[in-house]
């Protein structure tokens, strides 16, 4: 059975240290001022004494029904053999149609290449070689879990079988591969 790489974000374990943001920039050489992932704060919300805030990692949601792939006029945005959404820089003309289509604001035009850029799950450098993405490997609080969702023995499959994983903007039918576990937060 084909693999399906997925990531779970255990929001309660995230302390907002931005190690993932930094690791991603190191690993992928992302231009200054641009980010493939970052983890902004949500909140603080509520009134004392019932105040809460948490951090929510944002990046490409690796949709299985990706709007960016559908609208791309040159097939530069595509699913690779493992179902990971990638951009073929050579085919991309930088029309930004994918930027308008992505409901997660995950894409940007890379200042150096002029092509659309976004999280790749570190496919080339790490995941294709059996490693986990840089953000996952560096995560201080153990908030990020990565693996093959279809392998019932994988850490992520076990985690998602026990906890409810929510996807962002489910109403668009994009079927993301990033699950947010909000237990203990919301």
């Amino acid at each position: 059975m084909a693999k399906h790489y997925a990531m779970a974000v255990v929001v309660a374990k995230c302390i907002g240290c931005q190690a993932c943001t930094v690791a991603c920039k190191f690993q992928n050489n992302v231009p200054e001022g641009q980010y493939r992932t970052k983890t902004p704060v949500v909140g603080p919300k509520g009134t004392f004494p019932n105040v809460s805030m948490y951090f929510e990692k944002q990046a490409c949601q690796m949709c299985q029904n990706a709007p960016c792939v559908e609208v791309c006029p040159t097939k530069a945005s595509h699913y690779n053999e493992a179902g990971v959404v990638l951009v073929d820089v050579d085919k991309c003309v930088g029309c930004k149609y994918c930027l308008t289509a992505c409901p997660y604001d995950a894409r940007f035009i890379n200042k150096d290449t002029g092509a659309a850029d976004k999280c790749t799950f570190c496919w080339e450098a790490r995941v294709s070689k059996g490693q986990v993405p840089a953000c996952v490997s560096t995560c201080v609080g153990g908030a990020l879990v990565f693996g093959d969702e279809k392998d019932s023995n994988s850490e992520i499959a076990k985690l998602l079988s026990k906890n409810k994983g929510e996807v962002r903007k489910e109403e668009f039918g994009t079927r993301p591969s990033i699950y947010y576990i909000f237990e203990g937060v919301k």
Binding site: G16, E70, P73, C95, T100, A101
Partner: protein
């Protein structure tokens, strides 16, 4: 809020003014072409000046629009890759071909119209007053001119495709609730292609009328203009009631109410009705406002869809 490093940057606008102007110019080109070609094909007393204006505007407008489009790319020099990498599920990929072929046909048609008076003039005494009359008389088509009407037919279909394409380009973004709003709530029937088609014909006709300013009798065209303005007002009422009111607030409210509604629709509609009924020539103010309103409409739609998400 910037209390913690990593806070979300404000939402970026992917498509800005260049795209809005491009959509506007593509609409003008398509509308002007339809005005000229349909007059050429079906007009009984064909005003040559109007046909000429309507044939010369499209190549200029579409070429300027395409240049803007190319400069807006992240990698302008790679624009040719759009021709060689086709994605049939992408509206933009299909539109690339519609617009490219339309541009070529518009250039051919402009050339044929440019060469047309020369052919017409053969054997006809031309006086100052006689030029108009000569153009109206049919001379047996010969040589290249035999192609003029077939080119007008093919070009009209492509112009229709271009005008609606500018709407489909935005409406195909299904994750954008403003751009992809359905027509009267009928799922699968997007609204924007209708709006942009009517606006394209309206602005294209207006630009053509400005170009044919001292033409003899344009009453028919002025009446068509009035009908188009009325349809556009109806369409905007439908839009207003179909989407969230958040899209009509903030800085965009002025653009919509003053630019699109007052300058682009209400004032020209009132002036046009007054002009036609009193037989006053108000072509330049009326058509000028229609064109400005068409530009405001593209700006509004392009930005509103990206500001509020």
């Amino acid at each position: 809020m910037d209390i913690t490093w990593g806070a979300s940057a404000s939402h970026e606008i992917a498509w800005g003014g260049m795209i809005a102007v491009y959509l506007f110019l593509a609409g003008i080109a398509a509308g002007a072409f339809l005005t000229a070609a349909l007059t050429d094909l079906f007009g009984k007393n064909r005003p040559a000046k109007l046909i000429r204006a309507g044939a010369y505007i499209p190549p200029i407008a579409i070429v300027v629009g395409l240049l803007l489009l190319v400069f807006d790319l992240g990698r302008p020099l790679s624009f040719w890759k759009l021709i060689f990498n086709v994605n049939f599920s992408s509206v933009m990929s299909l539109g690339t071909f519609i617009i490219s072929i339309f541009t070529a046909v518009a250039l051919v048609y402009a050339y044929l119209i440019w060469a047309w008076p020369v052919a017409q003039a053969r054997g006809i005494q031309i006086t100052v007053a006689g030029v108009e009359a000569a153009a109206a008389r049919e001379v047996p088509a010969s040589g290249l001119q035999a192609l003029r009407k077939p080119v007008a037919v093919v070009g009209s279909l492509l112009a229709f495709g271009t005008a609606t394409y500018t709407g489909f380009l935005l409406s195909a973004v299904s994750t954008n609730t403003f751009w992809s709003v359905p027509f009267l709530g009928i799922s699968g029937v997007p609204f924007l292609p209708f709006l942009f088609l009517v606006s394209a014909i309206s602005t294209g006709l207006a630009a053509t009328l400005i170009g044919a300013i001292d033409c003899s009798d344009l009453t028919l065209y002025k009446k068509v203009d009035i009908v188009l303005l009325a349809i556009e007002i109806l369409l905007l009422i439908i839009l207003y009631t179909s989407v969230s009111s958040a899209f009509f607030q903030g800085g965009l409210a002025n653009l919509f109410w003053i630019g699109v509604v007052v300058i682009g629709l209400l004032l020209p509609l009132i002036l046009a009705i007054y002009g036609v009924s009193k037989h006053k020539n108000l072509v330049v103010p009326v058509c000028g406002m229609v064109v400005v309103g068409g530009l405001a409409l593209r700006y509004f739609v392009v930005y509103a869809g990206q500001m509020v998400r």
